[in-house]
Structure formats: C-alpha cells, structure tokens
Amino acid sequence: MSSLWQATIYGLLQGGLLAMIAVGFSLVWGVMNVINLAHGAYVLLGAYTAWELHAAWGLDPLLGAVAGGLVMFVIGYAVQRLLINQIVNAPIFLTLLLTFGLQLVLVQGMAVVFSADYRSIATSYASEAFAIGDVRVPYGRLIAFGLAVVATLALVMFAKRSRTGIAILATGMDRTAARLMGIDARHMYALTAGIAAALAAAAGAMVGLVGTFSPPDAARFTLLSFVISVLGGLGNMSGALLGGLMLGVVQAWAGQYLPGTWVNAVAFAVLVGVLIVRPGGLAGRAFYESRLETA
C-alpha cells in the first residue's frame, strides 16, 4: 500500500514538472497551430544553461532557471520570428519538418558541445527529504513542483488578464480579425513562442535539479508535451496542468507495477486512446473549438 502512495506522490511531483514543460507547447499549438518538435531541445538548453552557471559560479539552479528562461525567451522569439513565421501558413508537414530540422541541429549541437554524458546539477538540499508516514518526499522535487505549478498558473493569469495575453489569445482565435484591430500577429506569435521556450527552459533547470539529463532526452520531452496537450485539450493551459499531473501519476504507477520497459509504451497508449475517444481533450471543452480537427 505504501508503495502505491509513494508512486502516486512521486507521480504528482513529476507531473507538475511535466505540466510546466507542456503548457507552453500547448499554448503555441493552440495559438498558431504549430507543433514545435524542438520544444524538448529547449528544455535541455535550459538545463545546460543552469548547469553551466552552477558549474562556473555556483549559481543555485532556481536562479539558473530564471537565467535559462530569459536566454531561451530571446532564442524562442528569434526562431519564431525568423524561421517558423516564414512558413506558418504552409501545409502542416512543412512546419513539422522545419521544427524537426531545428531539433536535429540543437540536439546534435548540444551533443557536440556538452557530450552525450548524463549530467545533473548537484545541490545540498535537492536529495534531502521529509516523510509523511511511509512516504518519502524529497525537497528538490517539492521545490520543482511548486515552481512549476506557480509558473503555469502565472501563465494562465497572464494570458487571461493582461493586455498582451489577451492579444495573444485573440490572435490565436482569429488572426485576421486581430490584425484588423491593430495587433501585430508576427510579434504576438514570436512572443508566444518566446514564453513557451522560457517556461520549457526554466523547467529544464528543475529537471537538472531533481535528476539527470542528456541531449537525446529532448525527443521524450517533446512527446510527453504532445500527450499532455492532448490530454488537457489543445491550447487549454489549466488543462495542461491537469494533463501533466495525470500523466505523471499514470507513468509512476506503470513504472511501479509493469514489468520490463512497458512503462515507455504507456504514454503512447494514453495518447492514441485519448485521440480516438476524445480528440477534444479530457479536461472539459476544447479551448479552440474551430481547431478541433476531427471529421
């Protein structure tokens, strides 16, 4: 029984982090109908930024997360503005290809610069833990979880309350109408991409805080972002939080109770199952109804 609780708690903590990775991915998909296959690489770029800062100046990964987020905001903005905006109206396999090419360049580039060795950002507190009954809760994971939830909720507030956030959502709902009202769609798309990259990078620093990372992990983060976005409903940010927590728990349970590497298949089974049964996502109504691409 305690192993079930341990797995559940672990899954929730991990799920919060996954949600922080996925929420930007989902926002980008919802607003501009682009799937960024380089999203997972952004997570790792954030992790390596935090790692370098920690190695060079002993900077705490929590501050490293902020620094990595700022760096990746700029890069994410530039990539959208200079590359993806050029073909944003093309058939989807072109945007998928472009971002896949970007993913190859970034992941291979990281492998060349940082090597493919696994790394982690060692701190004095991350692996310390407290216990609730039999269940062990490491501080590092709790901090990462807290930051992830706060960041995700902050994004929701920003999008729904701030002037810029509303402009972004408006552009996503009807680009033509938004442009007629004087909203610069190119800038809004780039801002959205920048925010998504920043959140992914900050989450990457937390990944380094609680575990290990290496360049080939990028594809896994991208795929988990897909699954969570689909679970939560396209572009639905609080849905992504819910989807992340759910996926985290399901994966933790599967890791606990399934033999071999079947746990890897669970995420895909969830993905395909949800797409077949409820393409609009599990978390209530789809946010972008017009984008519900099912016949």
Binding site: W29, N33, I35, L83, N85, Q86, I87, V88, N89, A90, P91, I92, F93, L94, L96, L97, L98, F100, G101, L102, Q103, L104, V105, Q108, G109, V112, A185, R186, Y189, A219, L223, F226, V227, V230, G260, T261, W262, N264, A265, F268, A269, L271, V272, L275, I276, P279, E293, T294, A295
Partner: protein, 319 residues
C-alpha cells in the same frame, strides 16, 4: 497516348541502365545505390498518403518495422522462405494500416500526425518487450543458410531486389496519380468536405491509400531486414526514417510522381556524402539542410519552374 509512350520509353531506358549499372561500380557504391533505391520506394509510399491524400503520417516507419519483423519472425521461427515472407509482410503492413486507419484517419492535421507517431513509438516498445518472439532489444537474426529460399542474396542480388521495389513503387504511384482514385485522393487533400459532397467515399479512399502506402513500406522493410540479417527495434522503428521519407517528398514536390523520385535520389546522395566526409557532424548538417529546404523550397523542386516562381513559393506561406 504519345505521352504515355514517351514515359514508358524513358522508364525502359532507365531500367536497362540501372540493371547494367552495378557492373560499372565498386561494391561500396552498389550498396549506396541500393540504399537510394530503397528510399525511392519509401518516399513514393509516403507520398501516396502524405503528399497525395494530405494526411501527414508521422508514424510511417511502423509499417517498415512491422514488415521487417514479420519477415524475420517468419523466417527464423516458422522456417519460411524469404519469397513467401516478403508478400506476407506487405499484406501484414496493409492489414495493420487498415486496422489503425479506421479510427485514426478520422483525425485531421496534427492530430493524425501525432497519433500515428504514437502508434509507431508504441509499437517499438511492444516489439522490444516481446522478447520471446522478437528477440527484444538484443535484436533478431534472420537465417541466411542456403536452400529453401533463405539464401542471402548478396550485394548484387539486393540491388536487383530494391530496384524492383523502387520500380514497383514508382509504377503504383504513377497509376494512382492518373486514375479516378487519384483524383479522389487529391480532392480529399484539397477540401475533404467538398470531396465528400461530390460523392467521394472519403473514409474508404483514405484507408485504401494508407493501406497501399503501408504495403509498399512493408515490402521495403521486409527486404531491408533480410539484407541487414540482424535487426533491432531501435533501427527498424526509428522515427528518423519517417522524417527522411517526408523530407525527400518535400524536396522533390509533394503530390507529384517525379518529386519523391528526385527528392530521394538527391537527399540520399547528399546525406551519404555528408556521412562519409563529416562522420561526427553529419546529422547536424542534415538538420540544417532540412531547415534550408523547407524555407527555400516549400513547394518542392519539381514545382519551381522559374526564378520568379522560386521567390513566389518562398513567400507563399509567410505570415
């Protein structure tokens, strides 16, 4: 009529030339051309569902992997001849395509792309975990002993086999493109609601297109498994294979017959060159090539006829 005759003549000349070619090449070069031929078949296969029908199947490699594993398992565990396993692998791929196509082809756009990607990645895990049947992550080795149709074909033998597969794929693609069925697929690609209103049974057409595409991909996977002798899930279900098919189709021109041919030949030679000269960075360079191709030739090489045409296609999809 004369256009068909000209195409047939040109095809015959190419085929004869290709048959004579290996005698003029070193062994290593024969292998390179064999790989090119395999990708010609794969690119044509993807073009049927992705280019012609407009359903971006990002899990196409699942049919390749299943074809390869069907052949390996039938030859290793059931003592089948390769020549029996080859068509059965293709049929298996087509049947699996029909099975997943029914639910998944209802999804459009990214949803279809991701769902098929999920199927492919999931299938790799399934194959990895069915160790008693597939050898798991350690791979499975196809028997290559003489007799009963299991003798390894040798470099020249596989060259001819993949030449035949490439020829078959091009022929099927050309037949579809000029048929009533091809018009239906293009109609689905360009406006699915209007296609259905015009009387096209869109569900059936899409499933058949995916099944044909899967059968060709399964054939290639089957031949590849026999050629490699030992196969592993990581390689046979590698998402990069899907992506390379798509890049080839995009470079050449999606929805055309000539495009995937041009794209496959061009990209395979370029990536082979990169692999030999920049063994460390070739994937990085490949990524950069993909980015440039998408930005410069979003409509493919076949679609670009003049300088102004090139500029127009570059600008066509800009925000």
């Amino acid at each position: 009529m004369s256009r068909w005759a000209a195409a047939a003549l040109a095809g015959a000349v190419v085929v004869v030339g290709m048959i004579v070619l290996p005698s003029q090449l070193y062994t290593g070069q024969v292998r390179v051309v064999t790989a090119v031929l395999m990708f010609v078949a794969l690119a044509q296969a993807w073009n049927i569902i992705g280019g012609l029908t407009g359903y971006a199947c990002f899990g196409q490699v699942v049919f390749f992997g299943l074809g390869g594993y069907a052949t390996a398992v039938l030859m290793e565990h059931a003592n089948w001849s390769f020549w029996a396993a080859l068509p059965v692998s293709a049929l298996g791929g087509a049947a699996f395509a029909a099975l997943i196509g029914m639910p998944l082809l209802r999804l459009r756009g990214h949803y279809f792309a991701i769902a098929t990607l999920g199927v492919a990645e999931g299938m790799r895990e399934v194959v990895t975990n069915l160790g008693w049947l597939t050898g798991g992550g350690a791979g499975i080795t196809v028997p290559t002993v003489a007799g009963r149709g299991t003798e390894w074909l040798g470099n020249d033998g596989f060259y001819v086999l993949f030449l035949a597969l490439a020829g078959l794929a091009v022929a099927v693609a050309a037949l579809i493109a000029h048929s009533r069925f091809g018009y239906g697929l293009r109609a689905i690609n360009q406006d699915e609601d209007a296609a259905a209103a015009a009387g096209v049974n869109t569900t059936r057409a899409k499933v058949v297109a995916l099944a044909i595409s899967a059968a060709i991909t399964g054939l290639a996977g089957s031949a590849y498994a026999f050629q490699q002798v030992t196969i592993y899930p990581q390689r046979l279900f590698d998402v990069d294979i899907t992506v390379i098919m798509i890049v080839m189709v995009v470079i050449g021109g999606a929805g055309t017959v000539l495009g995937p041919l041009v794209g496959a030949v061009g990209l395979q030679f370029v990536s082979e060159y990169l692999r030999q000269h920049y063994p460390q960075e070739h994937i990085l360079v490949l990524g950069a090539v993909i980015i440039l191709v998408v930005l410069l030739f979003p409509s493919g090489l076949v679609g670009v006829r003049s300088r102004s045409g090139l500029l127009d296609t570059i600008r066509a999809y800009r925000l």
